[in-house]
Protein backbone atom coordinates (compact mmCIF):
# COMPACT_ATOMS: atom_id res chain seq x y z
CA UNK A 1 0.00 0.00 0.00
CA UNK A 2 1.20 3.47 -0.85
CA UNK A 3 1.87 5.69 2.17
CA UNK A 4 -0.44 8.68 2.54
CA UNK A 5 2.14 10.68 4.50
CA UNK A 6 5.83 10.47 3.82
CA UNK A 7 8.12 12.43 6.11
CA UNK A 8 11.82 12.18 5.47
CA UNK A 9 14.44 13.65 7.76
CA UNK A 10 12.03 16.38 8.68
CA UNK A 11 13.36 19.15 10.94
CA UNK A 12 12.09 22.43 12.25
CA UNK A 13 14.14 25.01 14.07
CA UNK A 14 12.46 28.01 15.62
CA UNK A 15 14.43 31.19 15.70
CA UNK A 16 13.96 32.98 18.99
CA UNK A 17 14.86 36.61 18.62
CA UNK A 18 15.83 38.82 21.45
CA UNK A 19 12.70 40.72 22.41
CA UNK A 20 13.41 44.39 22.97
CA UNK A 21 10.96 46.20 25.14
CA UNK A 22 9.97 49.79 25.48
CA UNK A 23 10.47 52.76 23.24
CA UNK A 24 11.69 51.75 19.80
CA UNK A 25 11.56 48.14 20.98
CA UNK A 26 9.56 47.04 17.97
CA UNK A 27 11.94 48.78 15.62
CA UNK A 28 14.91 47.09 17.24
CA UNK A 29 13.13 43.75 16.98
CA UNK A 30 12.91 44.33 13.27
CA UNK A 31 16.58 45.05 12.80
CA UNK A 32 18.29 43.17 15.60
CA UNK A 33 18.37 39.77 13.99
CA UNK A 34 20.37 37.92 16.65
CA UNK A 35 18.63 34.73 17.58
CA UNK A 36 18.92 31.43 19.34
CA UNK A 37 17.71 28.24 17.70
CA UNK A 38 15.27 25.76 19.18
CA UNK A 39 15.43 22.39 17.46
CA UNK A 40 11.77 21.58 17.90
CA UNK A 41 11.71 18.69 15.45
CA UNK A 42 14.96 16.98 14.62
CA UNK A 43 15.45 14.64 11.71
CA UNK A 44 12.17 12.81 11.88
CA UNK A 45 11.09 10.22 9.32
CA UNK A 46 7.96 8.13 9.15
CA UNK A 47 5.29 6.72 6.87
CA UNK A 48 1.58 6.76 7.52
CA UNK A 49 -0.74 4.51 5.56
CA UNK A 50 -4.37 5.02 4.57
CA UNK A 51 -6.85 4.07 7.26
CA UNK A 52 -4.42 4.14 10.16
CA UNK A 53 -5.26 5.76 13.48
CA UNK A 54 -1.94 6.71 14.98
CA UNK A 55 -1.16 8.13 18.38
CA UNK A 56 1.64 10.66 18.37
CA UNK A 57 2.77 11.08 21.93
CA UNK A 58 5.56 12.64 23.94
CA UNK A 59 6.09 14.95 26.91
CA UNK A 60 5.45 18.70 26.81
CA UNK A 61 7.60 20.51 24.30
CA UNK A 62 8.56 17.27 22.54
CA UNK A 63 7.72 18.60 19.09
CA UNK A 64 4.30 17.06 18.43
CA UNK A 65 2.44 20.24 17.52
CA UNK A 66 5.37 21.45 15.46
CA UNK A 67 5.30 18.23 13.44
CA UNK A 68 1.57 18.58 12.91
CA UNK A 69 1.96 22.19 11.84
CA UNK A 70 4.44 21.11 9.20
CA UNK A 71 2.19 18.30 8.06
CA UNK A 72 -0.74 20.68 7.73
CA UNK A 73 1.25 23.27 5.79
CA UNK A 74 1.21 25.94 8.50
CA UNK A 75 4.94 25.91 8.93
CA UNK A 76 7.72 25.61 6.41
CA UNK A 77 10.19 22.89 7.46
CA UNK A 78 13.76 24.00 8.09
CA UNK A 79 15.00 20.91 6.30
CA UNK A 80 13.84 17.54 5.16
CA UNK A 81 10.88 16.59 3.09
CA UNK A 82 7.26 15.97 3.66
CA UNK A 83 4.77 14.75 1.13
CA UNK A 84 1.12 14.02 1.69
CA UNK A 85 -0.47 12.25 -1.24
CA UNK A 86 0.82 14.25 -4.18
CA UNK A 87 1.15 17.48 -2.20
CA UNK A 88 3.97 19.25 -0.47
CA UNK A 89 1.93 20.87 2.29
CA UNK A 90 3.54 24.29 2.63
CA UNK A 91 4.14 24.69 -1.09
CA UNK A 92 0.73 23.58 -2.31
CA UNK A 93 -1.04 24.99 0.72
CA UNK A 94 -4.26 26.13 -0.93
CA UNK A 95 -4.90 22.95 -2.90
CA UNK A 96 -3.62 20.72 -0.16
CA UNK A 97 -5.72 21.91 2.77
CA UNK A 98 -8.90 21.13 0.85
CA UNK A 99 -8.16 17.48 1.42
CA UNK A 100 -7.34 17.50 5.10
CA UNK A 101 -8.97 18.43 8.37
CA UNK A 102 -7.33 19.62 11.55
CA UNK A 103 -8.38 20.28 15.11
CA UNK A 104 -6.11 22.05 17.52
CA UNK A 105 -7.48 21.38 20.97
CA UNK A 106 -5.85 24.44 22.45
CA UNK A 107 -7.68 26.84 20.18
CA UNK A 108 -10.60 26.89 17.86
CA UNK A 109 -10.44 27.17 14.11
CA UNK A 110 -13.96 28.57 14.02
CA UNK A 111 -14.99 32.21 13.88
CA UNK A 112 -14.98 33.51 17.40
CA UNK A 113 -17.97 35.82 17.07
CA UNK A 114 -20.17 33.72 14.84
CA UNK A 115 -22.78 31.22 15.99
CA UNK A 116 -21.75 27.62 15.33
CA UNK A 117 -24.36 27.31 12.60
CA UNK A 118 -23.02 30.31 10.67
CA UNK A 119 -19.45 29.15 11.11
CA UNK A 120 -20.30 25.79 9.60
CA UNK A 121 -22.28 27.45 6.84
CA UNK A 122 -19.25 29.58 6.01
CA UNK A 123 -17.10 26.47 5.80
CA UNK A 124 -19.53 25.04 3.30
CA UNK A 125 -18.65 27.91 0.98
CA UNK A 126 -14.96 27.90 1.75
CA UNK A 127 -14.61 24.23 0.95
CA UNK A 128 -17.26 24.31 -1.79
CA UNK A 129 -19.10 21.41 -0.21
CA UNK A 130 -22.09 20.31 -2.33
CA UNK A 131 -25.32 21.11 -0.50
CA UNK A 132 -26.61 17.57 -0.20
CA UNK A 133 -23.28 16.28 1.04
CA UNK A 134 -23.08 19.11 3.54
CA UNK A 135 -26.51 18.36 4.85
CA UNK A 136 -25.84 14.64 5.11
CA UNK A 137 -22.62 15.18 7.01
CA UNK A 138 -24.03 17.84 9.26
CA UNK A 139 -27.05 15.73 10.14
CA UNK A 140 -24.92 12.76 10.98
CA UNK A 141 -22.35 14.71 13.03
CA UNK A 142 -25.01 16.69 14.80
CA UNK A 143 -26.54 13.53 16.09
CA UNK A 144 -23.31 11.86 17.19
CA UNK A 145 -21.72 14.95 18.67
CA UNK A 146 -24.99 16.31 20.04
CA UNK A 147 -24.50 19.76 18.64
CA UNK A 148 -28.12 20.84 18.61
CA UNK A 149 -28.11 22.41 22.04
CA UNK A 150 -25.62 25.07 21.00
CA UNK A 151 -25.94 25.48 17.24
CA UNK A 152 -26.96 29.10 17.64
CA UNK A 153 -24.45 30.04 20.33
CA UNK A 154 -21.48 32.17 19.33
CA UNK A 155 -18.28 30.15 19.45
CA UNK A 156 -16.79 32.42 22.10
CA UNK A 157 -19.56 31.46 24.56
CA UNK A 158 -19.18 27.70 24.18
CA UNK A 159 -17.81 25.51 26.93
CA UNK A 160 -14.56 23.72 26.15
CA UNK A 161 -16.31 20.43 25.49
CA UNK A 162 -18.90 22.02 23.24
CA UNK A 163 -16.26 23.91 21.36
CA UNK A 164 -14.23 20.78 20.78
CA UNK A 165 -17.26 19.00 19.39
CA UNK A 166 -18.05 21.92 17.11
CA UNK A 167 -14.44 21.96 15.94
CA UNK A 168 -14.47 18.24 15.24
CA UNK A 169 -17.59 18.63 13.17
CA UNK A 170 -16.08 21.59 11.32
CA UNK A 171 -12.93 19.66 10.49
CA UNK A 172 -14.87 16.84 8.86
CA UNK A 173 -17.66 18.47 6.89
CA UNK A 174 -15.68 18.44 3.66
CA UNK A 175 -14.97 14.69 3.86
CA UNK A 176 -11.22 14.87 4.33
CA UNK A 177 -9.42 11.58 3.87
CA UNK A 178 -6.85 12.58 6.46
CA UNK A 179 -7.24 14.46 9.71
CA UNK A 180 -4.89 15.76 12.34
CA UNK A 181 -6.08 16.04 15.90
CA UNK A 182 -3.76 17.89 18.25
CA UNK A 183 -4.94 17.16 21.79
CA UNK A 184 -8.65 16.76 21.00
CA UNK A 185 -9.41 15.64 24.56
CA UNK A 186 -7.49 18.30 26.45
CA UNK A 187 -9.39 19.74 29.38
CA UNK A 188 -12.49 17.61 28.84
CA UNK A 189 -14.36 15.77 31.57
CA UNK A 190 -14.67 11.98 31.43
CA UNK A 191 -18.01 12.00 29.68
CA UNK A 192 -16.93 14.48 27.03
CA UNK A 193 -13.69 12.58 26.53
CA UNK A 194 -15.57 9.39 25.98
CA UNK A 195 -17.84 11.04 23.46
CA UNK A 196 -14.90 12.48 21.53
CA UNK A 197 -13.16 9.10 21.55
CA UNK A 198 -16.23 7.38 20.21
CA UNK A 199 -16.48 9.95 17.47
CA UNK A 200 -12.85 9.51 16.48
CA UNK A 201 -13.32 5.77 16.39
CA UNK A 202 -16.46 6.14 14.32
CA UNK A 203 -14.76 8.35 11.77
CA UNK A 204 -11.82 6.02 11.45
CA UNK A 205 -13.83 2.80 11.31
CA UNK A 206 -16.86 3.85 9.30
CA UNK A 207 -15.31 6.32 6.91
CA UNK A 208 -11.82 4.96 6.73
CA UNK A 209 -10.38 8.35 7.54
CA UNK A 210 -6.70 8.32 8.36
CA UNK A 211 -6.08 10.00 11.70
CA UNK A 212 -2.97 11.29 13.40
CA UNK A 213 -3.71 12.12 17.01
CA UNK A 214 -1.70 13.68 19.79
CA UNK A 215 -2.70 13.44 23.42
CA UNK A 216 -1.39 13.40 26.95
CA UNK A 217 -4.10 11.01 28.04
CA UNK A 218 -2.81 7.45 27.79
CA UNK A 219 -6.37 6.19 27.97
CA UNK A 220 -6.99 7.82 24.57
CA UNK A 221 -4.11 5.85 23.18
CA UNK A 222 -5.06 2.59 24.85
CA UNK A 223 -8.61 2.85 23.56
CA UNK A 224 -7.96 4.18 20.08
CA UNK A 225 -4.53 3.54 18.67
CA UNK A 226 -2.93 0.41 17.41
CA UNK A 227 0.23 2.14 16.36
CA UNK A 228 1.99 4.90 18.23
CA UNK A 229 4.95 7.13 17.64
CA UNK A 230 6.77 8.54 20.65
CA UNK A 231 8.71 11.73 20.19
CA UNK A 232 10.93 13.52 22.67
CA UNK A 233 13.35 16.39 22.19
CA UNK A 234 12.34 16.44 18.56
CA UNK A 235 13.38 12.85 17.90
CA UNK A 236 11.23 9.80 17.34
CA UNK A 237 11.95 7.27 20.08
CA UNK A 238 9.51 4.60 19.16
CA UNK A 239 7.37 3.82 16.16
CA UNK A 240 5.36 0.65 16.35
CA UNK A 241 2.50 -1.19 17.96
CA UNK A 242 1.26 0.08 21.26
CA UNK A 243 0.72 -3.43 22.66
CA UNK A 244 4.28 -4.40 21.81
CA UNK A 245 5.60 -1.46 23.72
CA UNK A 246 3.56 -2.23 26.79
CA UNK A 247 4.50 -5.88 26.67
CA UNK A 248 8.14 -5.07 26.31
CA UNK A 249 8.56 -2.26 28.76
CA UNK A 250 5.56 -2.79 30.97
CA UNK A 251 6.52 -6.27 32.18
CA UNK A 252 6.29 -5.40 35.82
CA UNK A 253 3.18 -6.19 37.80
CA UNK A 254 1.98 -5.23 41.22
CA UNK A 255 0.59 -7.38 44.01
CA UNK A 256 -1.16 -5.63 46.90
CA UNK A 257 -1.64 -7.75 50.01
CA UNK A 258 -3.47 -7.17 53.26
CA UNK A 259 -2.15 -9.58 55.89
CA UNK A 260 -4.28 -10.91 58.72
CA UNK A 261 -1.62 -9.96 61.25
CA UNK A 262 1.50 -7.83 61.34
CA UNK A 263 4.72 -9.49 60.12
CA UNK A 264 8.14 -8.11 60.88
CA UNK A 265 9.71 -9.16 57.59
CA UNK A 266 7.24 -10.43 54.96
CA UNK A 267 9.87 -10.77 52.25
CA UNK A 268 9.62 -13.32 49.50
CA UNK A 269 11.95 -14.36 46.72
CA UNK A 270 11.51 -12.90 43.25
CA UNK A 271 9.30 -10.05 44.38
CA UNK A 272 10.26 -6.63 45.68
CA UNK A 273 8.46 -4.74 48.41
CA UNK A 274 7.75 -1.31 47.03
CA UNK A 275 5.44 -0.01 49.71
CA UNK A 276 4.63 -1.03 53.27
CA UNK A 277 2.07 0.30 55.71
CA UNK A 278 1.29 -1.91 58.72
CA UNK A 279 -0.43 -5.00 57.44
CA UNK A 280 -0.69 -3.63 53.91
CA UNK A 281 2.24 -4.51 51.69
CA UNK A 282 2.72 -3.93 47.97
CA UNK A 283 5.06 -6.15 45.97
CA UNK A 284 6.34 -5.62 42.49
CA UNK A 285 7.39 -8.57 40.35
CA UNK A 286 8.23 -9.42 36.78
CA UNK A 287 5.97 -11.58 34.71
CA UNK A 288 8.92 -13.52 33.40
CA UNK A 289 10.37 -14.16 36.91
CA UNK A 290 7.31 -15.58 38.57
CA UNK A 291 3.64 -16.02 37.81
CA UNK A 292 1.04 -14.35 39.97
CA UNK A 293 -0.49 -17.61 41.14
CA UNK A 294 2.88 -18.99 42.17
CA UNK A 295 3.69 -15.87 44.10
CA UNK A 296 0.36 -15.91 45.90
CA UNK A 297 0.81 -19.56 46.67
CA UNK A 298 4.24 -18.98 48.22
CA UNK A 299 2.93 -16.08 50.24
CA UNK A 300 -0.06 -17.90 51.61
CA UNK A 301 2.13 -20.79 52.70
CA UNK A 302 4.21 -18.48 54.90
CA UNK A 303 1.68 -15.85 55.98
CA UNK A 304 -1.99 -15.44 56.74
CA UNK A 305 -3.59 -13.27 54.12
CA UNK A 306 -6.87 -11.40 54.44
CA UNK A 307 -7.11 -9.87 50.97
CA UNK A 308 -5.05 -9.38 47.81
CA UNK A 309 -5.12 -7.87 44.34
CA UNK A 310 -2.87 -8.22 41.26
CA UNK A 311 -2.51 -5.38 38.76
CA UNK A 312 -0.50 -4.75 35.65
CA UNK A 313 1.57 -1.66 35.93
CA UNK A 314 -0.60 1.23 34.79
CA UNK A 315 -0.01 2.18 31.18
CA UNK A 316 0.40 5.72 32.43
CA UNK A 317 3.38 4.60 34.49
CA UNK A 318 4.94 2.70 31.62
CA UNK A 319 4.83 5.78 29.44
CA UNK A 320 6.16 7.94 32.23
CA UNK A 321 8.96 5.47 32.79
CA UNK A 322 9.85 5.70 29.13
CA UNK A 323 9.84 9.50 29.17
CA UNK A 324 11.73 9.83 32.42
CA UNK A 325 14.33 7.17 31.98
CA UNK A 326 14.68 7.65 28.25
CA UNK A 327 14.30 3.89 28.05
CA UNK A 328 14.19 3.89 24.32
CA UNK A 329 17.53 5.59 23.96
CA UNK A 330 19.02 2.22 25.16
Amino acid sequence: MEAIIKADRLSKDYKIYKDHKGYLGALRNLFDRRFTLVHAVNDVSFRIYPGELIGYIGPNGAGKSTTIKMLTGLLVPTSGEVQVNEFIPWKDRKDYVKHIGAVFGQRTTLWWDLPVRDSLELLKHIYEIPSDRFKQNLDSFRAILELDAFMDTPVRSLSLGQRMRADLCAALLHDPKLIFLDEPTIGLDVVAKQRVREFIQFINAKRGTTILLTTHDTADIAKLCKRIMIIDHGKILYDGEFDELIKYYGGSRVLSVEFAEFYQDPTIDQAKIIQRDGVNVIYSFKREDISASKLIHQLSEKYRIRDLEVQDQAIEDVIRDIYENQLLYN
Binding site: N29, L30, S65, K94
Partner: protein, 269 residues
Protein backbone atom coordinates in the same frame (compact mmCIF):
# COMPACT_ATOMS: atom_id res chain seq x y z
CA UNK B 1 -10.58 34.86 -8.21
CA UNK B 2 -14.35 34.93 -8.54
CA UNK B 3 -14.58 32.41 -5.74
CA UNK B 4 -12.24 34.49 -3.60
CA UNK B 5 -14.31 37.60 -4.17
CA UNK B 6 -17.57 35.88 -3.45
CA UNK B 7 -16.13 34.60 -0.18
CA UNK B 8 -14.79 38.05 0.62
CA UNK B 9 -18.23 39.57 0.14
CA UNK B 10 -19.76 36.87 2.28
CA UNK B 11 -17.31 37.63 5.08
CA UNK B 12 -17.92 41.35 4.71
CA UNK B 13 -21.65 40.88 4.81
CA UNK B 14 -21.32 39.14 8.15
CA UNK B 15 -19.17 41.97 9.47
CA UNK B 16 -21.51 44.65 8.26
CA UNK B 17 -24.59 42.90 9.56
CA UNK B 18 -23.17 42.72 13.06
CA UNK B 19 -22.02 46.34 12.96
CA UNK B 20 -25.45 47.51 11.87
CA UNK B 21 -27.18 45.73 14.70
CA UNK B 22 -28.03 49.07 16.28
CA UNK B 23 -28.56 51.28 13.23
CA UNK B 24 -29.48 54.47 15.09
CA UNK B 25 -26.39 54.50 17.22
CA UNK B 26 -24.32 53.56 14.20
CA UNK B 27 -25.59 56.55 12.24
CA UNK B 28 -24.98 58.87 15.19
CA UNK B 29 -21.47 57.59 15.54
CA UNK B 30 -20.66 58.06 11.88
CA UNK B 31 -22.10 61.55 11.77
CA UNK B 32 -20.34 62.72 14.90
CA UNK B 33 -17.08 61.27 13.55
CA UNK B 34 -17.57 63.19 10.34
CA UNK B 35 -18.24 66.35 12.31
CA UNK B 36 -15.28 66.02 14.66
CA UNK B 37 -12.95 65.46 11.73
CA UNK B 38 -14.64 68.28 9.80
CA UNK B 39 -13.83 70.77 12.54
CA UNK B 40 -10.12 70.42 11.78
CA UNK B 41 -10.85 71.73 8.34
CA UNK B 42 -13.09 74.49 9.66
CA UNK B 43 -10.33 75.65 12.00
CA UNK B 44 -7.87 75.55 9.13
CA UNK B 45 -10.23 77.50 6.89
CA UNK B 46 -10.71 80.21 9.49
CA UNK B 47 -6.95 80.55 9.96
CA UNK B 48 -6.35 80.62 6.22
CA UNK B 49 -8.94 83.37 5.74
CA UNK B 50 -6.60 85.69 7.71
CA UNK B 51 -3.87 85.20 5.10
CA UNK B 52 -5.87 84.77 1.89
CA UNK B 53 -3.87 81.86 0.54
CA UNK B 54 -1.26 79.31 1.49
CA UNK B 55 1.78 79.09 -0.76
CA UNK B 56 -0.28 80.52 -3.60
CA UNK B 57 -3.13 78.01 -3.17
CA UNK B 58 -6.62 79.22 -2.28
CA UNK B 59 -8.88 77.64 0.32
CA UNK B 60 -10.92 75.87 -2.36
CA UNK B 61 -7.83 74.37 -3.94
CA UNK B 62 -6.51 73.09 -0.62
CA UNK B 63 -9.99 71.72 0.10
CA UNK B 64 -9.70 69.55 -3.02
CA UNK B 65 -6.38 68.12 -1.82
CA UNK B 66 -7.67 67.73 1.71
CA UNK B 67 -11.00 66.16 0.78
CA UNK B 68 -9.35 63.70 -1.59
CA UNK B 69 -6.78 62.55 0.97
CA UNK B 70 -9.40 62.16 3.71
CA UNK B 71 -11.78 60.33 1.43
CA UNK B 72 -9.13 57.91 0.16
CA UNK B 73 -7.64 57.30 3.57
CA UNK B 74 -11.09 56.63 5.00
CA UNK B 75 -11.86 54.19 2.18
CA UNK B 76 -8.57 52.44 2.67
CA UNK B 77 -8.95 52.32 6.45
CA UNK B 78 -12.31 50.64 5.94
CA UNK B 79 -11.28 48.15 3.25
CA UNK B 80 -7.92 47.30 4.77
CA UNK B 81 -9.16 47.18 8.38
CA UNK B 82 -7.93 43.61 8.66
CA UNK B 83 -4.34 44.74 8.14
CA UNK B 84 -4.55 47.31 10.90
CA UNK B 85 -2.37 46.36 13.84
CA UNK B 86 -5.37 46.28 16.18
CA UNK B 87 -6.79 43.41 14.17
CA UNK B 88 -3.73 41.81 12.70
CA UNK B 89 -1.35 41.98 15.67
CA UNK B 90 -3.39 39.57 17.79
CA UNK B 91 -3.65 37.12 14.88
CA UNK B 92 0.11 36.75 14.85
CA UNK B 93 0.75 37.05 18.57
CA UNK B 94 -1.91 34.55 19.58
CA UNK B 95 -1.20 32.31 16.62
CA UNK B 96 -4.75 32.47 15.26
CA UNK B 97 -3.17 33.21 11.91
CA UNK B 98 -2.88 29.39 11.80
CA UNK B 99 -6.57 29.21 11.21
CA UNK B 100 -6.32 31.29 8.04
CA UNK B 101 -3.54 29.07 6.72
CA UNK B 102 -5.73 26.02 7.22
CA UNK B 103 -8.37 27.31 4.83
CA UNK B 104 -8.16 26.63 1.09
CA UNK B 105 -8.57 30.28 0.28
CA UNK B 106 -6.22 33.11 -0.54
CA UNK B 107 -4.74 34.52 2.69
CA UNK B 108 -4.95 38.15 1.63
CA UNK B 109 -8.67 37.76 0.96
CA UNK B 110 -9.16 36.21 4.37
CA UNK B 111 -7.36 39.04 6.12
CA UNK B 112 -9.37 41.58 4.16
CA UNK B 113 -12.52 39.74 5.16
CA UNK B 114 -11.50 39.39 8.80
CA UNK B 115 -12.45 42.95 9.65
CA UNK B 116 -14.35 45.76 8.00
CA UNK B 117 -14.80 48.87 10.08
CA UNK B 118 -17.90 50.46 8.64
CA UNK B 119 -17.57 53.38 11.04
CA UNK B 120 -14.85 54.78 8.76
CA UNK B 121 -17.76 56.09 6.73
CA UNK B 122 -17.45 59.10 9.03
CA UNK B 123 -14.10 60.02 7.56
CA UNK B 124 -15.24 59.16 4.06
CA UNK B 125 -18.29 61.41 4.32
CA UNK B 126 -16.20 64.19 5.81
CA UNK B 127 -13.68 63.90 2.96
CA UNK B 128 -16.45 63.93 0.41
CA UNK B 129 -18.05 67.07 1.86
CA UNK B 130 -14.74 68.91 1.95
CA UNK B 131 -14.05 67.82 -1.62
CA UNK B 132 -17.43 69.14 -2.72
CA UNK B 133 -16.74 72.43 -0.91
CA UNK B 134 -13.46 72.54 -2.83
CA UNK B 135 -15.26 71.96 -6.12
CA UNK B 136 -17.60 74.89 -5.47
CA UNK B 137 -14.88 77.27 -4.29
CA UNK B 138 -12.02 76.53 -6.66
CA UNK B 139 -11.87 77.69 -10.23
CA UNK B 140 -11.02 74.57 -12.13
CA UNK B 141 -10.81 74.45 -15.88
CA UNK B 142 -12.46 71.02 -16.15
CA UNK B 143 -11.34 69.00 -19.15
CA UNK B 144 -12.28 65.37 -19.72
CA UNK B 145 -8.77 64.31 -18.74
CA UNK B 146 -8.95 66.19 -15.47
CA UNK B 147 -12.37 64.82 -14.60
CA UNK B 148 -11.31 61.26 -15.32
CA UNK B 149 -8.11 61.63 -13.37
CA UNK B 150 -10.03 62.20 -10.11
CA UNK B 151 -11.39 58.64 -9.71
CA UNK B 152 -8.05 57.28 -10.89
CA UNK B 153 -6.36 59.31 -8.16
CA UNK B 154 -8.73 58.03 -5.51
CA UNK B 155 -8.01 54.48 -6.58
CA UNK B 156 -4.27 55.15 -6.51
CA UNK B 157 -4.37 56.78 -3.08
CA UNK B 158 -6.34 53.86 -1.65
CA UNK B 159 -3.78 51.44 -3.07
CA UNK B 160 -0.95 53.60 -1.80
CA UNK B 161 -2.21 53.75 1.78
CA UNK B 162 -3.23 50.10 1.54
CA UNK B 163 0.34 49.13 0.65
CA UNK B 164 1.58 50.96 3.72
CA UNK B 165 -0.90 49.04 5.86
CA UNK B 166 0.11 45.70 4.32
CA UNK B 167 3.73 46.59 4.81
CA UNK B 168 3.07 47.46 8.44
CA UNK B 169 1.09 44.27 9.08
CA UNK B 170 3.90 42.20 7.58
CA UNK B 171 6.48 43.62 9.98
CA UNK B 172 4.37 42.16 12.80
CA UNK B 173 5.63 38.70 11.81
CA UNK B 174 8.99 39.78 13.20
CA UNK B 175 8.30 42.60 15.64
CA UNK B 176 5.17 41.12 17.24
CA UNK B 177 4.53 44.68 18.36
CA UNK B 178 3.10 47.76 16.79
CA UNK B 179 5.78 49.55 14.82
CA UNK B 180 4.85 53.08 15.84
CA UNK B 181 7.17 54.69 13.34
CA UNK B 182 4.99 53.43 10.51
CA UNK B 183 2.23 55.75 11.66
CA UNK B 184 4.50 58.60 10.63
CA UNK B 185 4.09 57.40 7.07
CA UNK B 186 0.44 56.39 7.10
CA UNK B 187 -1.33 58.95 9.26
CA UNK B 188 1.46 61.47 8.75
CA UNK B 189 1.39 60.82 5.02
CA UNK B 190 -2.33 61.46 4.74
CA UNK B 191 -1.87 64.66 6.75
CA UNK B 192 0.92 65.88 4.50
CA UNK B 193 -1.09 65.05 1.40
CA UNK B 194 -3.78 67.48 2.53
CA UNK B 195 -1.52 70.48 1.89
CA UNK B 196 0.34 71.84 -1.15
CA UNK B 197 3.65 70.22 -0.42
CA UNK B 198 5.96 73.00 -1.53
CA UNK B 199 5.14 74.80 1.73
CA UNK B 200 7.00 72.16 3.74
CA UNK B 201 10.71 72.15 4.57
CA UNK B 202 12.90 70.31 2.14
CA UNK B 203 13.61 67.39 4.49
CA UNK B 204 9.93 66.56 4.86
CA UNK B 205 9.39 66.89 1.13
CA UNK B 206 12.28 64.55 0.41
CA UNK B 207 10.96 62.03 2.92
CA UNK B 208 7.57 62.02 1.26
CA UNK B 209 9.04 61.92 -2.24
CA UNK B 210 11.65 59.23 -1.97
CA UNK B 211 11.00 57.16 1.13
CA UNK B 212 7.24 57.23 0.91
CA UNK B 213 6.33 58.82 -2.40
CA UNK B 214 3.13 60.49 -1.24
CA UNK B 215 3.92 63.64 -3.20
CA UNK B 216 3.22 61.84 -6.48
CA UNK B 217 -0.25 60.87 -5.35
CA UNK B 218 -1.72 64.19 -4.38
CA UNK B 219 0.41 67.28 -4.89
CA UNK B 220 1.82 66.68 -8.37
CA UNK B 221 -1.44 65.36 -9.82
CA UNK B 222 -3.34 68.28 -8.32
CA UNK B 223 -0.85 70.72 -9.86
CA UNK B 224 -2.04 69.34 -13.18
CA UNK B 225 -5.74 69.34 -12.36
CA UNK B 226 -5.64 72.91 -11.01
CA UNK B 227 -3.11 74.01 -13.60
CA UNK B 228 -0.91 75.54 -10.88
CA UNK B 229 2.65 76.77 -11.33
CA UNK B 230 5.09 74.21 -10.05
CA UNK B 231 7.56 75.88 -7.71
CA UNK B 232 9.47 72.63 -7.32
CA UNK B 233 10.30 72.75 -11.03
CA UNK B 234 9.36 69.20 -11.67
CA UNK B 235 8.86 67.90 -15.21
CA UNK B 236 5.22 67.67 -16.29
CA UNK B 237 5.11 63.87 -16.33
CA UNK B 238 5.45 63.75 -12.53
CA UNK B 239 1.77 64.64 -12.41
CA UNK B 240 0.94 61.33 -14.05
CA UNK B 241 3.16 58.95 -12.10
CA UNK B 242 0.45 58.21 -9.53
CA UNK B 243 -0.85 54.95 -11.09
CA UNK B 244 2.64 53.69 -11.73
CA UNK B 245 3.76 54.42 -8.19
CA UNK B 246 0.64 53.12 -6.50
CA UNK B 247 0.65 49.87 -8.43
CA UNK B 248 4.38 49.26 -7.89
CA UNK B 249 4.07 49.95 -4.20
CA UNK B 250 1.13 47.62 -3.92
CA UNK B 251 2.98 44.92 -5.79
CA UNK B 252 6.01 45.35 -3.57
CA UNK B 253 3.93 45.24 -0.41
CA UNK B 254 2.31 41.99 -1.57
CA UNK B 255 5.76 40.51 -2.25
CA UNK B 256 6.87 41.48 1.22
CA UNK B 257 3.64 40.07 2.62
CA UNK B 258 4.24 36.69 0.96
CA UNK B 259 7.75 36.68 2.34
CA UNK B 260 6.42 37.45 5.80
CA UNK B 261 3.91 34.60 5.66
CA UNK B 262 6.71 32.19 4.81
CA UNK B 263 8.55 33.37 7.89
CA UNK B 264 5.53 32.99 10.12
CA UNK B 265 6.53 30.80 13.05
CA UNK B 266 3.14 30.29 14.66
CA UNK B 267 3.17 30.04 18.45
CA UNK B 268 3.69 27.24 20.90
CA UNK B 269 0.87 24.96 22.04
Amino acid sequence: MRRNLSLLFRLLRIQIRSQLQYPASFVMEVLSQAMILGFFFVAFAVTLSQFGDIGGWTLGEVALLWGLAEFSFGMMDMIFSGFDYDAFGPLVIKGTFDQLLLRPVNITMQVLGSRFVLRRLGKIIEGLIIFIIGLSLANVDWTLGRILYIPVLIFCQVLFFGSLFIFGATTTFWTKERLEILNVFTYGGSEIMSYPMHIFPRAIRLLFSFVVPAIFLSYFPMVYILDKPNPLNMPVFTSFLAPFIAISMFWLSLKFWRFGIKNYQSTGS
